[in-house]
Symmetry: C2
Subunit: 330 residues, 2 copies
Amino acid sequence: MVTLEDVARQAGVSLATASRVLNGSTRQVGAALRTRVEQAADELGYRANIAAQTLARGASNVIGIVVHDLTDPYFAALADGAMRAAATEGLLVMVGTTHRDPEQEIAYVATLNAQRVRAVLLVGSRVADPAVTGRLRGELARYQAGGGRAACVGQDLLGVDTVAPANREGAAELARALAGLGHTRFAVLAGPPHLVTAADRCAGFAGALVELGLPAPQVINGPFDRDGGYAAAQQVGDATCVFAVNDVMAVGALAAYRERGVRVPEDVSVAGFDDIVTLRDHVPALTTVRLPLKDMGARALELALGEEDAVVVEQVAGEVVLRESVRRLA
Amino acid sequence: MVTLEDVARQAGVSLATASRVLNGSTRQVGAALRTRVEQAADELGYRANIAAQTLARGASNVIGIVVHDLTDPYFAALADGAMRAAATEGLLVMVGTTHRDPEQEIAYVATLNAQRVRAVLLVGSRVADPAVTGRLRGELARYQAGGGRAACVGQDLLGVDTVAPANREGAAELARALAGLGHTRFAVLAGPPHLVTAADRCAGFAGALVELGLPAPQVINGPFDRDGGYAAAQQVGDATCVFAVNDVMAVGALAAYRERGVRVPEDVSVAGFDDIVTLRDHVPALTTVRLPLKDMGARALELALGEEDAVVVEQVAGEVVLRESVRRLA
DNA sequence: GGCAGACTGGAAACCGCTTTCCGGGGAGGT
DNA sequence: ACCTCCCCGGAAAGCGGTTTCCAGTCTGCC
């Protein structure tokens, strides 16, 4: 491996000079030496050792993003937004996937802390377990005590800058829209009760129905993914409209209905949440609540990098999008 | 930031001892000192500085994965497979997205080299431009000269370990299957001609048709994504069967047909390639060539980490999956 | 012409950790 | 008892950069 010292020797200059030429420094270096160094570096194929640079400078140029599952398009979109933003700042990205294990999330924060990353983004729903949240907060505090910056996309439970999707409000809005179509008997494919995102969406939806004087929906818990939606759909009673707390589950539900010969929206209306881009061509087109996922990811990075002392929490509103998977009741 | 020295002082031991206790060493440390150090580290909230460790050890525990686009489920699946494999090896992952810019890919290799990552995985189709490929090879060679390991998922054009999907063969197999259903007039939504993956699939498909004595297909080039498929579908002539060189394009094509009131598969048959999981619930279900994406990602990591001196290239066969998007011709 | 001040180049300290090398003490063998 | 060998703890030399501090050179100005 060729080092800066090799370059300096080859160019016949000191280490200091070589460093100043090759890695942005405030100090000027004469044109003659400068070209000698550049040429030497080029000939030798020099690549700075970032570990050494990070150590010497005391600051790295990488950020960490922790998501639940990259193959879930929800997280892919969020991560992509954050990564694009990072790229414009000249930052590298370390991505960790927890596969929905909160312990993994804590472990990642510790690891990213060890890496002295400039910032960490925790992307994804918080869980309702105060013990876990407490330990995560502890790990984050330790990281921040060392000068680390952090932000979260999800619920404001961590005491860090947060981009918070308005899950309750979005779901409530959706409920009102669906009720406006004449539906009165609802079911909610509610996902796991301990996932705050799922719980909020479910609660927002149910709350709005109550406010409208409608009967409470049938609530069916289960996994937060496609198969969870598929399974939950089997347990729906006599509802005319089913709300799956995310699009991926809604697609699972649609698959279940299709297999059973239940027509959507003729026999039952189905709605989701998120407006996943990959699913926009689904048939029937999914009624959902659109979240600007890429922007949210990018915004979270901005917040993390921002110099503000105060913790800022930004609500992001969702927009109800009615499509063919729901119908107006006669 | 609390350092190892702080811990050592607090525990009343030397730096060496503290290091041996806290970071796996071959050397033993007495139980008494050991617990003192551990306790001190815990009290102080010590987190090793990985940059320093990497520098001192001369080896890092991070690997780099470079993909074209994380929001494309094809890459998400591949990356996920690789990341899971990395996790079992205790490795951290840096992910870079090129957004399909080959220059970015080269830049990433340089950056990951600077990071002294243990291995880099180049995931995604090569381009047909020899100049670009040459520069990428140069950058890779420089990296490998410094002890770096590399592997590629795509075409064997880089001189590194490669997991190569059998694009030609898979497409040929698909062509034979479709011809077996009685189709004779084909169109290929071929993607960009410079993308080797797209070109191979197109060539394999067309080649098989020729072998069968069928007329050559209509070839329509365009972008490699959903909108590319959508646009290309508009230009299809009188084909009874359309092959989109990937699933995402096929979905675009299906959307185009749906909008125009063309029924699939009654009026036209459509097939894709990849068998993207997220798209399995699409209606109509997509005929495609299944690639074991997760396994391929994991395998690429294995190859990169493997000790073999010889460059190994592994072909991965695709499996034709006939679903409702194609029909047998009367 | 002489001197202050601005610039440029180099020596060396330092970033935080690993690991080699050394020394001291205890256990085991004779 | 004495010697050897093994173990464990510590001092110190790196790992590859950055940056402070110092010295020498030029330039501009009085």
